[in-house]
Symmetry: C2
Subunit: 505 residues, 2 copies
């Protein structure tokens, strides 16, 4: 590859969806699996998920929740208890109907038919509700604050790695409260946990808001989300938090004796984020050379690349490199020891270098004979031009590495924040301007359009039908609203709140 | 409950299987779920699993492995590729045959039949083999050392919490090597990881050995295991490591170009431990008052129990307790901060105390008005008599708590080690003595019998048939063997190695 060419083809500009696929592939994050629609998460991708889990798990526990584990299978009769819920998932669920295989005419076929089909959980409200009904007896048992890390299955006809896969990994919190106020407080607490986590760990700025009725979780009274902007200016829902009211407690009979001795239905919530966050990371920060990983979530923060001579003694270089690796690995960063690779593989230097660029490692540290001689290293930052190098001695690097990593983390957040602000249009007042904004300039590239629109919306369902042609949806009604009311950009009717409109993943 | 009575009824002596169920229930570890044969792992039980995961994950990574994630579903055609493998699992697998639900006559029924049934993974050799065949091209790609943490499903007709459940959680390592020697070395490395983990974290002594042919993993060339003894003297297989030879690489076509440019089949291994370990923990260490948790694996190491007066000021007591909790929580233990609960619930002191005893918490720390006055605390160790208390001042406790916890951990290990040694009979030379050893003294209590027998065995399959009537199996052929050969205890034929015989879970 020549120095002027980029590592990923096509570029974002040329073909954004294909660029995304190529970045995921080049960074060795994941690939399609032999089971249709499911993915294999490769070590580099799973390393990101482990960091997401570790940090988010801490935040979930710090807000008073404990982890538990509930079964993979939901008996159909339980799923059916909440009408809106089952309707929402009936079209996309994996159904287990048999419990063994039997040979017939030399062929293995399903046998041992179950009396009742089991649904592979698409989410766990139904099965957890049934369990909670046994656990909750009195106000003394409340609040019940539990989370689980699990895999779930929602059948996907058009899967895309991380963004839409039949099986994905997630956490799902399920809580029970004595009244609406406490339950709504929980919903907001977790929404803020997600927002701050996305910002601090993933360098991902998001808009926090309420989903329109049409986009609510099946069975929820209210759904809230954090919405991020990808580099093609489309929205990606990155986490949701639901106030379920008494819907599931009535369906599952979760009742408790209050302090007055009256039997009452509890109020429940649920909230979750998934491996989709990795897709969001990729699309928010990567460039035409591949992945760019925020240091706090990177499986490794730096790689040392020894440049050994074709002939001659590589001993001093490897020794110098190993010593540096050891010193760096003792440094604490983002609550755990810095993870620094030493890549001694027998590969051309250029190829090796490009592999790490495409994997998005924050820092590359080159050490050759010259560096050993002059007791220095060449440091390349993934957030800088790829040829820009910083020469420093090992002690300087050891002393400043966490500062450099923090700078990279901040840079990604600032770039994404600026991009979100620059591509959120707040001046659109009429339906025709609105349509123009979302109509692709070039019919060949339907993905290139204006971005987000923030405008007053009357919240009537009929206006959402108008959006369908444009393939635009109301992403959310931001929690932060200005003073006063206005006129709906779509209907011209009076409107109380502003909404975010966008095309979305 | 009176002071002389035990917390768990029946006792181990009265009814061991029921005692086990009652301990699991009283400690709030797990319960049966609405999906038949699956379990709900409650927070206290899941906390144990989190500690198992954290520590074992570190050991797996320190031996050079990375984590990844492979799909939940195995297409039937892949499972079928290895004949012994599919035969081993065909009788106990959950089969997905449809991908949505449809209303018919007012009833929801499975719809969208799949062209090919999907098996919910009972283990992942088949699906991972297919993926590895794409990843492995050259000797440079080897060894491939990957682990995954996942749920698996094996249909169980007679489920028992933790010991046998339709769904369970586990880790499964899957590695690929260039030759038999390296693959066998990996198998032994992981077996030793399991043995030392069980000993150091779970205080569980195990016998390391090779499984007889009849107990091999379906598709394996050789299976090795660690075997533990429960308090009813039965064996429990606590972890396995398999040398798979070329069986799966031939089935999945995992081939590589060696250094000479020849295309060769790789050698693979797999190894795993599961939530069954929690069952082993319970049965190895608990007593008639409930669970006893080795401190290193306990979700919390200690609980502070403030004894507040019915009337009067509880302020100073709670303040004293909170201050102690804060000091203790800053101490590092087993690689992470000590976890100390402060139980302020409005419950009778006796009831509260018993709850924590049954949960097996290593230390209970009582603080009442008298203690605050004299600046001391009452410490109760779970490994001591329940009335035995140690009075010390807070500074003493802070200075010695990790030593005390280490003593408790050691005590459990020593007790279990002694129990294993005392109940392993090495002097049996004849088949009739062998039968007598395994025949219950009391027909009413078939679970009470001799324990393990270690004796020479000729390794012929016909001798295993003899064992069937006694409901005894060859647990393993220990790796550590004495010098020389002997005479088979069952057949009288010459025998090369000693085996461990036992009844088993």
């Amino acid at each position: 590859m020549s120095k002027s060419q980029n590592a990923i083809s096509p570029s974002r500009e040329e073909d954004y969806p294909l660029w995304y696929q190529e970045v995921v592939k080049a960074a060795e994050l994941a690939e399609s699996s032999p089971a249709r629609g499911c993915m294999v998460i490769k070590p580099w991708g799973y390393g990101i998920w482990e960091n997401i889990q570790r940090d988010l798990d801490r935040r979930i526990k710090e807000t008073g929740h404990e982890n538990a584990y509930f079964p993979l299978f939901v008996p159909l009769s339980l799923l059916e208890k909440e009408a809106a819920h089952v309707e929402g998932f009936a079209k996309e669920c994996a159904v287990v109907t048999h419990h063994r295989l039997e040979e017939k005419d030399g062929k293995l076929i399903p046998a041992g038919e179950l009396d009742e089909p089991l649904i592979v959980r698409p989410t766990s409200e139904a099965v957890i509700g049934e369990v909670y009904a046994k656990w909750v007896k009195s106000y003394r048992d409340l609040p019940l604050l539990i989370n689980q890390w699990a895999n779930v299955v929602r059948w996907e006809m058009r899967p895309r790695l991380f963004l839409r896969t039949a099986e994905f990994l997630w956490q799902e919190g399920h809580t029970v409260h004595a009244n609406e106020e406490e339950a709504r407080c929980e919903v907001m607490t977790m929404l803020e946990v997600y927002r701050s986590f996305a910002e601090e760990m993933l360098a991902l700025p998001t808009i926090v808001g309420e989903k329109p009725a049409s986009e609510r979780f099946p069975g929820a009274v209210d759904t809230y989300s954090i919405e991020a902007m990808m580099q093609d200016r489309k929205a990606l829902q990155a986490g949701t938090s639901h106030y379920l009211g008494e819907n599931f407690s009535r369906a599952s009979n979760i009742r408790f004796l209050d302090e007055q001795g009256d039997l009452r239905f509890a109020h429940t919530t649920s909230w979750g984020v998934s491996t989709r966050l990795i897709g969001a990371l990729v699309m928010a920060h990567s460039d035409d050379d591949g992945l760019r990983l925020p240091p706090r979530v990177a499986p490794k923060q730096a790689v040392i690349l020894p440049i050994t001579p074709k002939s001659g003694d590589e001993g001093p270089i490897l020794e110098f490199a190993a010593k540096l690796q050891k010193s760096l690995s003792g440094i604490s960063y983002a609550g755990r020891p810095l993870c620094v690779a030493l890549d001694k593989r027998d590969l051309r230097g250029g190829e090796k270098n490009w592999q790490w660029i495409k994997k998005g490692i924050p820092l590359r540290i080159e050490i050759g004979a010259r560096e050993v001689e002059s007791n220095c290293v060449c440091v390349y930052r993934r957030d800088a031009d790829r040829k820009e190098r910083i020469v420093m001695n090992p002690e300087e690097l050891i002393g400043s590495i966490t500062t450099i990593l923090d700078q990279i983390q901040d840079n990604y957040l600032q770039q994404a924040t600026l991009f979100l602000a620059e591509n959120t249009e707040t001046g659109i007042k009429t339906a025709s301007d609105f349509c123009r904004f979302f109509t692709p300039v070039n019919a060949q590239k339907p993905e290139i359009h204006g971005g987000f629109v923030r405008a007053f919306w009357c919240e009537d369902a009929d206006t959402e039908a108008l959006l369908k042609d444009l393939k635009v949806t109301v992403r959310c009604i931001p929690l932060e609203q200005g003073e006063g009311s206005g006129t709906c950009v779509l209907s011209g009717r009076p409107a109380r709140r502003e909404a975010i409109f966008a095309k979305a993943y």
